[in-house]
């Protein structure tokens, strides 16, 4: 009886091992496919990096102002601030974030991992999803921050020329 128990345990152990090894194999063969994951629209719940000096670090999209499926490169979204930069000490005192955690803000998507068609028929895509916080002033959206980090697409020229002029690189 005891022997049979041992035997069973041994088999189950082996079986477990077999399963894990198979799983590992499968993983390794699929790794390159995983890296080719399809990118989707910026929709409710998407986390975006904030690439200006408004003080916010990460926002979560809660609404796309245009389009049924969601926002794409250059679109405006409504977002809630998830993370803000900690207050920083400088010569003249302490610099705190201009936006508070939990605030609802408007933002322009300046980088998106999902490819977007350009006017000449080519497509463009970026490394990550990033946005710049904006404020509705009178009849147009103006950036809150005074600086924009990283590359931005030239498609912003029509509606957000200010962001384009603040950016270091235009792709």
């Amino acid at each position: 009886m005891a022997a049979s128990k041992w035997y069973r345990a041994g088999r189950s152990l082996l079986g477990g091992l077999n399963n894990t090894s198979l799983g590992l194999l499968r993983m390794s063969s699929r790794t390159h496919l995983l890296s080719q994951q399809t990118r989707t629209f910026i929709q409710m719940g998407t986390n975006l990096k904030v690439v200006d000096n408004s003080g916010a670090k990460r926002v979560k999209c809660i609404q796309a102002l245009k389009g049924k499926k969601g926002a794409r490169l250059g679109d405006i979204i409504v977002a809630s601030v998830q993370e803000v930069n900690p207050p920083k000490e400088v010569k003249k005192g302490v610099v705190t974030s201009t936006v508070k955690k939990g605030a609802v803000v408007h933002a322009v998507v300046v980088r998106a991992a999902m490819p977007r068609g350009r006017c000449d028929g080519t497509q463009i895509k970026f490394d990550d999803n990033a946005c710049v916080l904006v404020k509705y002033a009178g009849n147009e959206y103006e950036p809150i921050g005074k600086r924009v980090h990283g590359p931005v697409p030239h498609e912003l020229r029509k509606k957000h020329a200010k962001i384009l002029s603040l950016a270091g690189y235009v792709a």
């Binding site: 080519t122 497509q123 463009i124 895509k125 490394d127 590359p151």
Partner: protein
């Protein structure tokens, strides 16, 4: 309008074709087709992929140094339009392309030069080594006309002492 080069295969990317990927440090990778884009995503090195220009150049398959390549260059300053200049350039393009094609074909011929004698040698060796597959040895003995001329071959013979050891 600018004709860019594909990052992976170095072919020309014509307007309206391909995709471009902008990395966060603002480096732009242009691809002529999805094949090149996929290979990039798989993190393949174009120098190790045989069909790319980079591989062919690295391994001496294509002509790399030539004066005809000097004409094709990236210029960031737009040239002021000059009717005569434009006309001459258009004329020259045809000529240069022809010269380059000729030189390239010559380069390939040069590269293949030693191949024929090598092949001959290999074939002769194969014939010598495996003539028995064509004719059975007994048939060869009966009709000596089918055999190859006898070639003296050195055979190292075991000395008496070695045999004793065994």
């Amino acid at each position: 309008m600018r004709l860019e080069k594909c990052w992976f295969c170095s072919s020309t990317v014509y307007p309206g074709h391909g995709i471009q990927f902008v990395r966060n440090d603002a480096k732009i990778f242009r691809f002529c087709r999805s094949k090149c884009h996929k290979n990039f995503k798989m993190k393949r090195n174009p120098r190790k992929v045989k069909w790319t220009k980079a591989y062919r150049r690295l391994h001496g398959k294509d002509m790399t140094q030539d004066t005809t390549f000097e004409f094709e260059r990236k210029r960031n300053r737009p040239e002021r339009y000059d009717r005569n200049l434009a006309e001459n350039t258009l004329k020259a393009i045809k000529k240069i392309v022809k010269v380059r094609a000729d030189r390239e074909s010559k380069h390939i011929l040069n590269r293949m030069k030693g191949n024929k004698s090598k092949e001959r040698k290999r074939d002769a060796k194969e014939l010598e080594q495996s003539i028995h597959m064509v004719k059975a040895p007994s048939a060869l003995q009966k009709d000596p006309s089918h055999t190859l001329p006898k070639v003296p071959v050195k055979v190292s013979q075991h000395s008496e002492e070695d045999r004793m050891k065994e």
